[in-house]
Assembly symmetry: C2
Homo-oligomer: 640 residues x 2
């Protein structure tokens, strides 16, 4: 059972409940070789804080002694591990050695018999060099085996592995079918050769294709991924679980893992590590150790690199800056950067999970940052939802933010002459009245602009001017003088509403006389009063509205169902009226276009107003989760 605690990008911090305890994801499961306990499972748990490990049931089954012990003592006792144990089934051995001597049935039953918490189907490893036909055929077999495993799994959880080699459509199709089965965890399999060959762009294709098909309510495990260099990026793409044999394998070869790569002890010129394993050591002292001690120190170093990177990843999700971390990590190797650059092909999918705003500003880390879905959404909404305030446009190129604060008198001059001030920004065109919304005001760019950004911005400006059909577009210094009267705040409140709710809902919201309540301290709009009713409040931090009950009622009245609605079951209504949050299991239907953190209207099954709030999850997620907050309720119409 999975519950989302926090999200950023496609990443999520979750609680994953198993019979051996709750695992906080993202999490990495160190691979434990039952024959060689380089670092003991107990140490992995107590010293390093790993809540779960993975070991290989096929190896145990083929060793008489281990098999007997596992079946009599149980796996947890045999390995002396107090947390969650996942087992692999021999599939990777089939990839390595061509075949395994066991059936799916035998492997599932064996895993049950030794008390595995999460067992794995004996699926078929789809190699990157296989033909499409071979892949399709083997997926059918994997799906059959998975269905059978679900039938006989008993109270063991089961890994239903997504296969499909490098064929995105086959991956997505396989994932979609896995999502309908009673599996508990979704590993993405067959990816190790791609990672070994640094084919990260294809790895991105595979992960996204799988994510599209899979059920949101189950953890996704990227099988075989355990390098600290990759973890932030894979988490950003929505992977929750990882495993690593490399901490030990690399240690055997005297290789240190870092977030910027793997380095041989013999090549390293200096030891720059403060981890508990390295502390007090020098390269020389490590070189002088006997093989076993050296292997142990390096394995521990590698594990500490993993735990501290995972902690940083969790922190970045909590602080909503995982995009920044992942983009920086991807620069450790040009092939990882290829993976990052591949994301621009998936902007539509990424935009669906992109929150409406964040507490933290967008930090640009390089040209690749402009592929973030927040840029794409802005352009899309602007083109679809913006209505010019004046029929002529005056173009500004200043870059001090927020623009309306730094260019107040210029904007006045231009508007008085009957022009809409449009600022050229790395987001493309920014009408002055939208300059305070996220991410326009909440973003930082270098002053020295790269050519790609310049070109893109030019194109965006062109599309915008074409679409908006301005009578005239001139530089701010070339305007003809005029004497138009206007109210900048009135322009802003409508433009913001259109950007946030669309044109139709804005027409429903704004009627009759519009009065604005300004903040005494900042002079900024706080409340929008229409025909005497307080319909909207403006948030200072992201420039967007919170919807008031009076506003919500107007939308329900004039905008057809299901726009902006979240329908809750009757039983939940009294609780929500008391201000309790709406939980996933009580949501019956929902506008599928709602994005995370978007303002929503909670209604009952007859479309009667119940409350306003902010969506935490999207409809495909809410349908898939059995617990967790779906909508944060704004009790009695007061502000969150």
């Amino acid at each position: 059972m999975l519950e989302i605690v926090k999200r950023d990008g496609l990443a999520r911090l979750c609680k994953f409940e198993t019979r051996s305890g709750v695992l906080r994801t993202p999490a990495l499961l160190p691979v434990v070789n039952p024959k060689i306990l380089l670092v003991t499972p107990k140490e992995l748990h107590n010293e390093f804080g790993f809540g779960a490990i993975i070991t290989n049931s096929y190896i145990i089954k083929n060793d008489t002694n281990l098999k007997n012990r596992a079946q009599t003592e149980g796996l947890h006792k045999m390995l002396d591990f107090p947390g969650i144990i996942m087992t692999d089934s021999g599939t990777f051995q089939s990839h390595m050695y061509g075949e395994v001597k066991a059936t799916n049935d035998e492997m599932i039953e064996f895993q049950k018999s030794i008390g595995t918490d999460i067992g794995t189907v004996l699926d078929i490893f789809t190699e990157p060099y296989w033909t499409r036909g071979e892949v399709a055929e083997s997926i059918s077999e994997t799906l059959e085996r998975t269905q059978h495993a679900c039938d006989i799994k008993g109270d063991m959880m089961i890994n239903g592995v997504v296969q499909g080699s490098i064929y995105s459509d086959l991956r997505e199709d396989c994932a979609r079918k896995m999502a309908t089965m009673n599996v508990d965890v979704h590993p993405i399999g067959g990816t190790v050769p791609l990672m070994e060959q640094y084919r990260y762009a294809e790895l991105v294709d595979i992960i996204i294709a799988s994510k599209k098909g899979l059920a949101a309510g189950r953890p996704v495990h990227l099988f075989g991924a355990g390098h600290p260099m990759l973890l932030a990026f894979a988490t950003l793409l929505g992977c929750d679980l990882f495993d690593s044999a490399s901490y030990a394998k690399f240690a055997r070869d005297d290789r240190f893992m870092f977030t910027d790569g793997t380095f041989r002890l013999s090549d390293m010129q200096f030891l720059d590590c403060n981890c508990p394993a390295c502390r007090g050591n020098t390269l020389e002292s490590i070189k002088r150790m006997d093989k076993k001690s050296r292997e142990n120190v390096i394995a521990r170093h590698n594990l500490y690199q993993i735990t501290s990177e995972l902690a940083l990843i969790r922190r970045c999700i909590e602080e909503e800056r995982l995009w920044e971390l992942a983009e920086i990590r991807c620069r450790a190797h040009p092939s990882l950067l290829d993976g990052l650059r591949r994301l621009k092909f998936y902007r539509d999918y990424l935009e669906c999970k992109e929150p409406i705003s964040r507490d933290r500003a967008v930090f640009y880390t390089g040209g690749e940052s402009r592929a973030r879905p927040t840029f794409y959404r802005y352009t899309k909404r602007l083109l679809e939802r913006y209505v010019p305030s004046f029929q002529r446009a005056a173009v500004f190129t200043g870059n001090k933010k927020p623009y309306s604060k730094h260019y107040t008198s210029d904007f006045n001059r231009v508007r008085t002459a009957g022009y809409t001030p449009i600022i050229v920004s790395p987001f493309g065109p920014v009408p002055a009245e939208l300059d305070e919304i996220y991410p326009i005001a909440q973003s930082l760019f270098p002053d020295i602009v790269d050519q790609e950004t310049n070109e893109d911005v030019k194109q965006m400006m062109d599309s915008f001017f074409e679409r908006m059909k301005f009578e005239e577009v001139v530089d701010e210094n070339e305007i003809k003088a005029g004497n138009v009267e206007y109210d900048a705040n009135q322009i802003r409140v409508r433009a913001t509403a259109r950007y946030q709710f669309g044109i139709e809902a804005t027409n429903a919201l704004f009627r009759g006389k519009i009065d604005l309540v300004l903040s005494r301290k900042t002079g900024k709009v706080r409340n929008v009063i229409s025909d005497g009713e307080h319909i909207l409040s403006m948030r200072a931090n992201d420039g967007f509205y919170t919807l008031r009950p009076e506003g919500a009622e107007r939308i329900i009245e004039l905008v057809p169902y299901p726009k902006f609605r979240v329908v809750v079951v009757d039983d939940a209504v009294p609780y929500i009226l008391q201000g309790r949050n709406a939980f996933c299991q009580f949501v019956a239907d929902m506008d599928p276009d709602i994005r995370p953190m978007e303002e929503v209207i909670v209604v009952d099954k007859d479309d009667n107003f119940v409350a306003t709030g902010r969506a935490i999850l999207t409809w495909d997620e809410i349908r898939s989760f059995r617990r967790g907050v779906a909508v944060k309720i704004r009790s009695g119409g007061s502000e969150v």
Copy 2:
């Protein structure tokens, strides 16, 4: 006394000798407030490994008790610090509070009286908002005071601070005058307000301007720079010393320093640090501490971040990958990225210090990587030194490296038809015969190319084709068939010689019959024999030549002095003939165009051949250093 041990970019690993011991640079000097010893100087030395600290002589002088103790016990005993102590003079106080109540004379004498190892002139802090006139005037005063300080410094070392506000020419001029004075360390001053305001592009201007003027043989101290986020970049730009009061200041405000920024304890959602200070703590346990313990833990954390970043920087210099580290670190803040992007304005200066090759491949971290001087040098040398092997060109767009290995049959086809194969690469045009030289073969790029690179490459291709005056330029698939005979290795050996030594020297080297000795194992060229003399050997790792004595003699004969020459004094000749390296103090003159790691010819004062070798330092450096290896000698003509 300074000695370079290793270099990369403008960065250098040095040994800096003082009367209180040798400091390994790059080094950071923690600022010790003599009134509040948050972390004791002894701990800074023994626990954290800081070899030097900085404290403020003006504060000591103004506190009767401290003043008396410092003058009677001496500063080292008073602070109980067994390493090197630098003192500041009150200049920063004048920036903070407008004036100081002391004269330069008093401050120098006082610093001497308390046993400071490195004292500081009471220079004038040039503020970023000052007019050019004000700045110029205050520089004159600073220079006068510095000259006076040099006159009276005794056996105390002295900091001669480069000032000049944001005026690059005034900075460079000030630096040039400082270089002529008898100062020991060159701080770059007046930079704190720029760092506080994130004006990193201007900081780059200032550092480069100062570096241009300063003497290479003295350490450069970037005053007030101590954030781990900035250290790699500032080191890359040639700063050797840093200081940090922020480790303590930030700790006082409950702020944690990391390489990706500074974070408030109250904003942090997770503690992701394995440093000895944080280990065993959680955010909650730190929040529960009393103010003093908390401040101590955070200050220690901040210091550990600095020490481990410095260790990583040293490691990256040793491993010749500081460009990669600095580029990644600069992505922590868009303003730092502005600093990085500023570098393309200084490519000529940077190219002078750029080594001919490295042991490690160029890793592309983003569009900014293409501003590295290694790209610039390639384009420059190609345009100036390349001579087409065939008068028509056939363009290839494949990207598997080394090209000549992957496209052997295609290159054959094209050459047989009488065309020069030219590959389109992120370096611009690469003639097939140059595909194994550094950095063409020794570089990794993403496959997905950004638009800026595309545009640049297109322009470079155009300039190249224009310059080379090919009769025809076509796609490799559009060539007319032909039946030309050629020897690919003969083409390669001449093209490589022209690229490495220029056209004139190549004409001197290649005469009569050219025989090539190939490696039996790889089939690659190993030795070039001209008229029966072994003139050149080709290195497998970077595709360049080592010069043999016979080759060197030909260059001496036909290429006018001082090209490729390093002149050593007569006394040194016998040692060099025995294969000993040429040290700075024995070099009398040198070709100023020689780059680090370039092949050179050591001659005596009459231009007689003595030895061949590789330059470690450039002429401006050799002139300025009194010790260290200038040229690594290849004894008796055998390979290094």
